[in-house]
């Protein structure tokens, strides 16, 4: 067995992904170090890591964005490599450079690649120049004077987006070209407000689009492979809720074309380490959307169908090793579905929820990637994702059944979650039939709303019987009186 050039990895992240990374570090015989903000002191990753170093800042999120403190902690822990997880600094080229300059391996692609793909317009132009499909578009920066007329020429429907944007902010769909100029003004002011940059671009909008992404992996020797696709169309406000592989929307031929396109793009960018190429798919056509130069939340779906540990592959690539399998050796087996458990109430407009996790028991027979423990307080300090439940089975229907059973078996009391909502999606006809697109939840508000009065009497009965005062009053009421007593309006 070859040894790695480092024995300690610092994780600059938190929650479930930190736990996930530690699991692989342990498997590889590596020491794990982690930074954490005080509010995360009781979270599972802190207890699991070999070394935990507290960092502080004005807010918890700012602590995980503090480059200087994180690098100092890595040095203190004698880390030879650093894993940025997802979110936070994972796609910050300046951070990647600082890590490398501090003499550590950055477990991710090169800073240059992060910069290229981080600028959406630059990435899009790069992909187009290399002959890969992008949605017809107009970029303001290229020629502000003709921007509006070029946008008009693309035709409706189109999407107006801030070029510095992300996460769906400032984006607008324009179906009626008469409203185009207003939409441009609004998106511009939002781009300025959220990203400090009012520049825009417009793109053909694919109706009933499906979000299909391809996992890629590259090494420092020019080898690039794909690990098939994931479909992530069940989302709301551009936040993913359910992901799966393979995509029920693709024929084998389309699947091959999309995956090969992703590899082509990654190869053209000399991509190293793990990444994901995202496409918009609809009506038999697909267009490059963007490339994420990090490990993604939904990576377990790919791990389940391919049997490949992506975090381990990231570490090997960062250690300068050559990929030790070829494309033909990567096989997709069965079907995997991931559902994201959030601390939110879909029944009340997805409002975030809080509380103490008083009771927590995980379902059996599925993979659980979790960042919470019984006894932990759920607050609004961070993103509300609590855990991921991933099922793997020979067919899609089996995987759906398994996921449905799992969310029903999950016990999490003390903080309201979207578990009931997940169960409703997994039982919904459109989802079962694989017939959905990114507008699916918005067009089916009854799924989020659920049925509030359904089965309520069983809950009232349990509550009444568990409450001593209620039982005591009952025991003191003579049976005859009770038989004749009644409510009267």
């Amino acid at each position: 067995m070859h040894t790695l050039p480092f024995d300690t990895v610092l994780i600059a992240n938190r929650g479930e992904i930190a736990v996930r990374i530690i699991k692989t570090l342990r498997k590889l015989g590596l020491r794990s170090a982690i930074v954490y903000h005080e509010v995360d002191a009781q979270t599972p990753a802190i207890a699991m890591a070999d070394v935990a170093i507290e960092v502080s800042a004005r807010t918890p999120i700012a602590a995980y964005l503090d480059i200087a403190q994180i690098i100092a902690a890595a040095r203190k822990a004698n880390a030879g490599a650093l894993h940025p997880g997802y979110g936070f600094l994972s796609e910050n080229a300046q951070f990647a450079r600082a890590v490398i300059q501090a003499g550590m391996a950055f477990i991710g692609p090169t800073p240059e690649t992060i910069e290229l793909m981080g600028d959406k317009i630059r990435a899009r132009n790069f992909v187009q120049r290399n002959g890969f499909p992008v949605a017809p578009s107009a970029i303001e920066e290229d020629d502000p004077a003709t921007f509006v007329s070029k946008a008009r020429a693309i035709g409706a429907p189109l999407l107006v987006k801030p070029s510095a944007g992300g996460g769906g902010k400032g984006m607008r769909i324009v179906r009626d070209l008469d409203t185009l100029e207003d939409a441009i003004d609004l998106s511009r002011s939002e781009g300025q407000r959220y990203f400090g940059d009012g520049r825009l671009y417009v793109e053909r909008y694919v109706e009933d689009p499906r979000h299909i992404e391809v996992q890629v992996l590259g090494d420092a020797f020019g080898n690039v492979v794909h690990l098939f696709e994931r479909e992530c169309s069940v989302q709301r406000r551009f936040q993913k809720i359910i992901e799966e592989s393979p995509s029920p929307a693709l024929s084998p031929e389309l699947r091959e074309r999309i995956c090969e396109t992703a590899v082509g793009i990654a190869r053209a960018a000399n991509y190293q380490n793990a990444g994901t190429v995202e496409f918009i798919f609809g009506r038999g056509e697909f267009y490059f959307l963007e490339m994420n130069t990090r490990l993604q939340v939904e990576h377990p779906v790919t791990e389940m169908v391919t049997g490949i540990d992506l975090v381990a592959q990231q570490i090997y690539a960062a250690a300068g090793r050559e990929l030790d399998f070829s494309q033909s050796a990567i096989v997709s087996d069965g079907h995997a579905i991931e559902v994201r458990l959030y601390a939110e109430a879909p029944e009340r407009g997805y409002v975030p929820t809080t509380g103490k996790v008083l009771l927590l028991e995980y379902p059996h027979g599925v993979r659980i990637d979790s960042g919470i423990l019984q006894g932990q307080h759920i607050t609004t300090a961070f993103d509300p994702m609590l855990a991921k439940i991933i099922s793997h089975a020979p067919t899609r229907m089996d995987a759906v059944t398994k996921s449905h059973r799992a969310v029903q078996e999950l016990v999490l009391l003390g903080c309201e979650t979207n578990a009931g909502f997940l169960a409703r999606i997994l039982a919904d006809e459109a989802f079962l039939g694989g017939q959905f697109h990114t507008g699916y939840l918005e067009q089916n508000p009854h799924i989020a709303a659920g049925n509030t009065s359904d089965g309520l009497s069983a809950f009232l009965a349990s509550a009444a019987l568990l409450t001593r005062a209620v039982r005591d009053s009952a025991d003191a009421v003579p049976e005859l009186h009770a038989a004749i007593g009644s409510w009267r309006n």
Partner: protein, 183 residues
């Protein structure tokens, strides 16, 4: 306790004692009476019998309701019960009848403005001792980038503001206590 009379509550009719559980912001009145196989559950629109609950430990039990047996997972946290039945989780808050009686009878002149969701106080626009009217803005809160104005429920006088700007709070937390005017 059994002889408390809620004469102002004409909807109750002949029954003197009921208990209230709040679920998703809605109050549900009920009471239990004994019957041979357990209890009779009296709800406003129906009576279900027999009902019985057997606790196996402090988080696991079996509910028998109208002939069906349902495994139940639960946690009792003071007046709050978290219950899971057939994959569905709900939180029920027991409203102590004595406390309910107190506010209905007007013995306690307090009015409260509660937080509709967890969050952080951004700005407070009133101060203790200030006369306020129904609908007036009391404070601005923020939760996951959603800004909401907390408005005064009824005319009154601000008694106490329980959180300062920058403080965080949970859902249902009492943000501001008011007293009725002319107390």
């Amino acid at each position: 306790m059994l002889s408390l009379s809620f004469t102002q509550q004409s909807a109750v009719g002949e029954i003197d004692v009921y208990h209230t559980f709040e679920v998703d912001g809605v109050d549900h009145k009920l009471w239990l009476s004994p019957c041979r196989q357990g209890y009779r559950l009296h709800l406003t629109d129906q009576v279900i019998a027999p009902v019985k609950f057997v606790s196996h430990n402090d988080s696991c039990g079996l509910l028998t309701i109208a002939g069906e047996a349902e495994p139940v997972r639960f946690v009792v946290d003071g007046d709050v019960l978290h219950v899971l039945i057939r994959g569905r989780t709900r939180t029920l808050r027991y409203r102590d009848p004595l406390r309910t009686l107190a506010s209905v009878a007007g013995q306690d002149n307090s009015l409260v403005a509660r937080a509709p969701m967890p969050g952080v106080v951004l700005t407070t626009t009133v101060s203790p001792g200030q006369s306020v009217s129904a609908g007036m803005a009391l404070m601005m809160i923020e939760s996951m980038k959603l800004e909401t104005i907390i408005r005064c429920p009824q005319d009154g006088v601000v008694d106490r503001i329980h959180f300062e700007e920058g403080d965080s709070f949970e859902r249902d937390a009492v943000l501001v206590t008011l007293t009725k005017e002319g107390r």
